[in-house]
């Protein structure tokens, strides 16, 4: 006759290491990975701070996301110490983890001891469904999704670049999207500005963008700034956001944005497009170069073709805008290698990407100084600013 479940559990517990919550607490402070194998609703009601959540039903497929190195000690816990014993056996005998222990008494005893407990802000059932493909990723998870929901991103323009960026950031659940644009939807925009629709021609772009975002994801709050970004308003708007997405169409504002973002230490994910070519980089103040390190002065108007009407293949702002959205999400989640100190050049016709290094300029007129030393008068200033602006619009 096969042994009962209780008997098998006794046998397993005799083969694995079991440790008390006090020892688990001590070992986790020295680098052991705490893994919570309970169900999602139990985890959401409270868990050990710093623990990783890998439900027992997904242990085999997801443990590597939480504990990639099999030689690092792992402490498994559940509610009372039974499910964690089964899980510990799996980790040791099936998956080859070298130092695994199960916490006796589980989370219940941990709480009874008065040890610290973290209660994650809960997501609704609908949110868990909506973001389930994010939550499944070890790099995102519930914690990362909450960071996205808490994030505040400012999009400069609801045009070619801003349209795809806004759509995907909204879909991803970035909780607050500020959109700056003083323009109205024109039929000639619709070849690339996919956030707008034919029946909204003549409507302010910020309003049209807000309608599309709300229809896509009601979790997202859209802050409409129907204005042109300038020296008179930039220091009021920017401080309300964590990251700025720059799809600006002119140099004066791009320099103004650079200087303000350095002063406020806000990263800028910047892209530019022309014809079939795009450029992309991330300017994170004081961690990498700023825009002035890359280009200390703008080109003369005749070499700045954005000043006039120029063609662009409709898919290109889609490609570049989504690369921007990707960099934004990486910055929010603090994952991967953001495009700081590097510039990508995408040639759509050749289907090639070229990358060059962008160095911080130790003599940069802006980012070589402390933020508080940058004055209002200097922001956005460069030689011949007025002459340039006259040709820019």
């Amino acid at each position: 006759m096969s042994p009962s479940g209780a008997e098998v559990l006794r046998q397993i517990k005799s083969r694995i290491d079991e440790i008390d919550p006090a020892a688990a607490r001590e070992q986790s402070s020295h680098g052991a990975v705490l893994v919570d194998v309970r169900e999602t609703d139990e985890w959401s009601a409270g868990h050990v701070p710093g623990a990783r959540h890998v439900p027992k039903s997904h242990l085999e497929s997801r443990i590597e996301g939480a504990a990639p190195d099999r030689s690092v000690p792992v402490i498994v816990y559940c509610a009372s110490g039974n499910r964690s014993a089964w899980a510990a056996r799996t980790l040791i005998e099936d998956l080859g983890y070298e130092h695994v222990s199960s916490m006796t008494g589980g989370f219940t005893l941990w709480k009874d001891r008065g040890y610290e407990v973290e209660v994650p802000r809960s997501m609704t059932l609908e949110q868990r469904e909506r973001y389930s493909r994010h939550i499944l990723l070890p790099e995102v998870g519930m914690e990362g999704q909450q960071k996205l929901l808490d994030a505040r991103v400012l999009l400069l323009g609801a045009g070619g670049l801003g349209s795809p960026t806004a759509l995907y950031l909204a879909a991803a659940g970035v909780g607050t999207l500020g959109i700056v644009d003083d323009d109205v939807v024109d039929v000639s925009n619709l070849q690339r500005q996919v956030i707008h629709t034919t029946d909204r021609v003549g409507m302010p772009k910020v309003e049209s963008a807000a309608m599309t975002v709300m229809a896509l994801n009601p979790d997202v709050k859209v802050e409409q700034h129907r204005l042109r970004l300038g020296a008179d308003n930039i220091m009021e708007i920017l401080p309300n956001y964590d990251i700025v997405v720059d799809g600006l169409d002119n140099f004066p504002t791009r320099y103004l944005l650079n200087d303000a973002s350095v002063r406020l230490r806000i990263p800028v994910v910047s892209a530019a497009i022309l014809g079939f070519d795009g450029q992309l980089s991330v300017f994170k103040p004081y961690e990498g170069p700023c825009y002035r390190c890359l280009f200390p002065v703008p080109p003369p108007a005749e070499l700045a073709p954005s000043c006039g009407a120029n063609g662009v293949i409709g898919v290109l702002p889609g490609t570049m805008g989504l690369l921007q959205a990707t960099e934004v999400i990486k910055l929010i989640l603090d994952i991967g290698n953001p495009l700081i100190g590097r510039l990508l050049m995408y040639d759509a016709l050749a289907a090639t990407v070229t990358e060059v290094k962008v160095r911080r300029d130790p003599n940069c007129p802006i980012c070589s100084r402390a933020p508080e030393e940058i004055s209002d008068q200097e922001m956005g200033a460069f030689p011949d600013y007025d002459a340039f602006c006259a040709g820019a619009h």
């Binding site: 045009g159 079939f276 280009f295 703008p298 060059v356 290094k357």
Partner: protein
């Protein structure tokens, strides 16, 4: 022969091509060859004093020549020079 990548804003000045080949042992020599064969690029690349314009960056492969030896930077036959002027097109 080194390869020179021409950015969109300069392509009209070189007959519409994206890449040209030029002989030369340094960045300066190669850019001179470009300017000699395509005079319209002169004022776009160089300031009146013969220096590279500050709104144009030139990379030897992926490194800014300004952090190497500037126009004196040695260039090999299999190297690529990337010319990168500032671009601001948000496509409103």
């Amino acid at each position: 022969m080194a390869t020179i990548r021409i950015p969109p804003v300069l392509r009209a000045s070189v007959g519409g091509v994206k890449e040209i080949q030029a002989d030369g042992s340094s960045v300066g020599e190669i850019l001179r060859v470009v300017v000699d064969s395509h005079p319209d690029t002169q004022s776009q690349l160089f300031s009146p004093d013969g220096q590279l314009n500050r709104y144009v960056n030139v990379y030897l492969n992926d490194e800014d020549v300004r952090v190497l030896d500037g126009l004196e930077t040695a260039v090999g036959d299999h190297d690529t020079l990337v010319i990168l002027p500032a671009m601001a097109g948000g496509a409103r």
